[in-house]
Subunit: 483 residues, 2 copies
């Protein structure tokens, strides 16, 4: 595509904030899921809302697709560019506009890093709860786009539960003020609709987030199991007891070994699975919960239960979990990180099925995940230099997501749909839900200029896959072709 007038108008708006040089465009071809890539026509790096408005006006008038991008850490290809489109990078809008203590909220620009909010609030004893693994780098705008989670979302919720307001710039130039500093807002909940909408309904130019008091006390316990099923069942038993830990993570044998070899966290490498449980609150509450969790873990057959007694030991227990992904990267040339969610009651069953898929495809799987909320992250190990392994990993990943749906779960936990999971949306939803999503998209963006081709598959795509709609644990197509 080449529109001299588009370029000229954008240049006059953006100056050096417009990138057209192919070498400079290259870093924008992919987000965190690097197997999915496309070099965009243009990249715009506005530094004000006024510039964003002007860029959208040009794109609207000339029919140029717009792909919003935060920090580029997304894991489902939500910010993958389109070849004839513009990437709207929001990293320069990185100001914390207000920390309002009386209302316990922060008002920030979309390019502010997740962790920067907590850093700014920490002096006041407050923090922003959702903490994706990428929190040091990922932006709050990207968190809104993907409805991001993190280790602590079991207790504190996803992005949708922690954002009180956004300013949404629509493709028609209208500015919507959605929500604010308060819990409720009248009318249809356009605010919640914006969460997880992957930049397809509008451009978020401001976000107001809830700040929570920093818990005065944290304790961490690690439990080792000789069977994966034992660890899985312990997760359900903890929740069924009425406990909501701040975090409840699980790692299987392969992940344990990889992490231990990498960071020497002191993990029991003879375990088939470990659970790491963090409890937070006031000291007395945490201690009584810790005692109860320890009793449950023991009753569920944990052969080794270790409670960190110092802050250093706590950090060491977490270190292995936090380093698990790069640790797996050390033992395999490539890995593919999946993201799906299942009811806790099905953990043992689904993990066993993933094991069977692993054998069937001849690809090892390491499981490192948010067990408490049933949010699986199977890492499929493969070697892209071995013919067929990438395709095998992708196919197997799709099968895992379909397993999640069949178990009564969903094809995403916290990474969004992007382009990665378009086919599985055909499994998750029937034509009624998907048609309704398309009608809703058209009500915001009738030309379909905002992030085209993401998150919600066309019905044609779904029907080409050979069938649609699973509810009540019926799996429709065992041999899906993959993208």
């Amino acid at each position: 595509m080449n529109h001299p007038d588009v370029l000229e108008r954008l240049r006059s708006v953006l100056g050096r904030g417009l990138i057209t040089d192919p070498k400079a465009l290259k870093p924008y071809e992919t987000d965190g899921i690097t197997a999915i890539r496309e070099v965009p026509w243009l990249v715009a790096l506005p530094d004000s809302e006024a510039q964003i408005e002007a860029v959208l006006a040009v794109c609207r008038e000339h029919g140029v697709p717009v792909v919003a991008r935060g920090a580029g850490t997304g894991l489902s290809g939500g910010a993958r560019p389109v070849a004839d489109g513009l990437v709207l990078g929001l990293s320069r809008l990185n100001q914390i506009l207000e920390i309002d203590l009386e209302n316990a909220v922060a008002r920030v620009q979309p390019g502010v890093r997740n962790l920067a909010i907590t850093e700014a609030a920490a002096a006041h004893g407050l923090y922003y709860a959702p903490d994706p693994s990428s929190q040091i780098a990922c932006s709050i705008g990207g968190n809104v786009a993907e409805n991001s989670g993190g280790v602590h979302c079991l207790k504190y919720g996803l992005t949708v539960h922690n954002v009180l307001g956004v300013k949404l710039l629509c493709i028609d130039g209208q500015v919507l003020q959605l929500g604010g500093k308060l819990m409720d807002s009248p009318g249809y909940d356009l605010l919640a609709l914006t969460m997880g909408s992957e930049g397809m309904l509008g451009i978020v130019t401001e976000v107001t987030v809830k700040l929570l008091p920093t818990p005065p006390c944290k304790r961490v316990v690690l439990a080792a199991f000789s069977e994966i099923a034992g660890a899985a069942d312990a997760v359900g038993a903890i929740i069924a007891e009425g406990l909501i830990p701040a975090g409840l993570e699980m790692m299987d044998g392969l992940a344990i070994q990889a992490a231990e070899d990498f960071v020497h966290a002191g993990y029991p490498t003879d375990a088939a699975a470990i659970l790491i449980c963090e409890l937070d609150g006031v000291a007395a509450e945490v201690e009584s919960d810790l005692a109860l969790v320890s009793r449950i873990l023991k009753a569920q057959g944990a052969f080794n239960i270790r409670v960190a007694t110092t802050v250093e030991e706590q950090e060491r227990l977490w270190l292995g979990r936090k380093a698990a992904f790069p640790a797996v990267g050390r033992i395999s040339p490539d890995y593919y990180c999946m993201d799906g969610t299942i009811p806790r009651a099905k953990l043992a069953e689904v993990l066993a099925s993933i094991g069977q898929l692993s054998e069937q495809y001849g690809l090892a799987v390491a499981n490192v995940f948010h067990a408490g909320d049933g949010n699986l992250h199977p890492l499929i190990l493969y070697d892209s230099n071995q013919a067929g392994q990438l395709a095998g990993a992708e196919e197997m990943g799709g099968r895992i997501l379909e397993l999640c749906v069949a178990a009564g779960g969903t094809v995403t936990g916290e990474h969004g749909v992007g382009v990665e999971k378009l086919d599985q949306m055909c499994v998750q939803f029937g034509s009624a839900e998907l048609e309704q999503m398309h009608r809703l998209k058209a009500a915001f963006d009738p030309q379909g200029l905002l992030n085209p081709g993401k998150a919600v598959p066309t019905l044609t795509r779904c029907s080409e896959l050979g069938g649609m709609h699973v509810h009540n644990a019926r799996l429709p197509f065992p041999n899906l072709p993959r993208f």
Copy 2:
């Protein structure tokens, strides 16, 4: 309206569940806000999803408006019938379908009473958190329609934060499965969109709610202040300290006196305002929070701080608050309960302005409200037998809602918009937001058959009011005409 074929088809679907007799229709003419009334053409009382589907099909084919109704306890006229329409009463769908302990959720039909969920879960040490005052009677379907709150929503959130899934029957006959038992769901968040949508997007036929562990310990403290502003500032000080009480309620002098005369709760009738603060959790946490709250209350100038030492005393402290509305009903022939929300920081200022309005209109106001989340419930006392007082109360109520918007707040806290607050929606939102809401409605219900005329005003209505859109504390029209 009279369509013999409509009646015949509905009769064959519903049998005795179709009401056409004018005397039997009369009880359905209003919901909890009895000043807003209209006798419907028909009332349908289906007892199954299949019947609802069949009723919707008839209405769709014949263009009959459909107003869904739960228990009829709503306070904004959301279930007010339309004269040529059908009221779809959902009270017969009152089954608790499942209590799933491992996932800590309940799956229920829409007609199940709010409190019935907690009663069913109590044996397992669990409960459903949102607790509107009407919880003994109101239905979960109605809670979804209005995004209901309650005393404890400060800590535990509104309906939108506690519902994980709904089954939504659309007017075109499609059934949408939105969410489920899990926290996240891919695609646009149609689930959250359903919350507070007042039956205008579809009919909710099943609801899956989160269950929380019953807190093992509760403590209640009452503090008396000689100035309303002192109590208001104490609310902000408690939150700014990082505490999130389970409930933090405020009553002003008139409400205190009325409640005390009615139930003899032992309230200090010499106080200009009292705060009632409930803390919950494990005992040690609650005790340390209680000590901190007491210190803050004292530092903020409370002249009387009373901590309940027995369960009976706790119940007595709550009794006055819970009986406050009927207590006000004893001292005034009529009262009009408003519902708006403001940032906590503006409590003192807005309460002072409400006092000025009270003088200006010559109508007393009693304030009894959820101070912790800034959710005001001014009760305007009037006598409908005195010429002009009803109109005065309605006009003054509108002014109060506009004050809320001007203070950076919203025109609803937990009662929804219904028909009551249509004019104030013109103050809350600009044409951009309202247009977008109408586009969204059309994407669900292009014929506009579902609960027409509620929640989102037409732009014509707004422009007839003489102006639109306040942001940043500018009040556009001081002398609005009222409905």
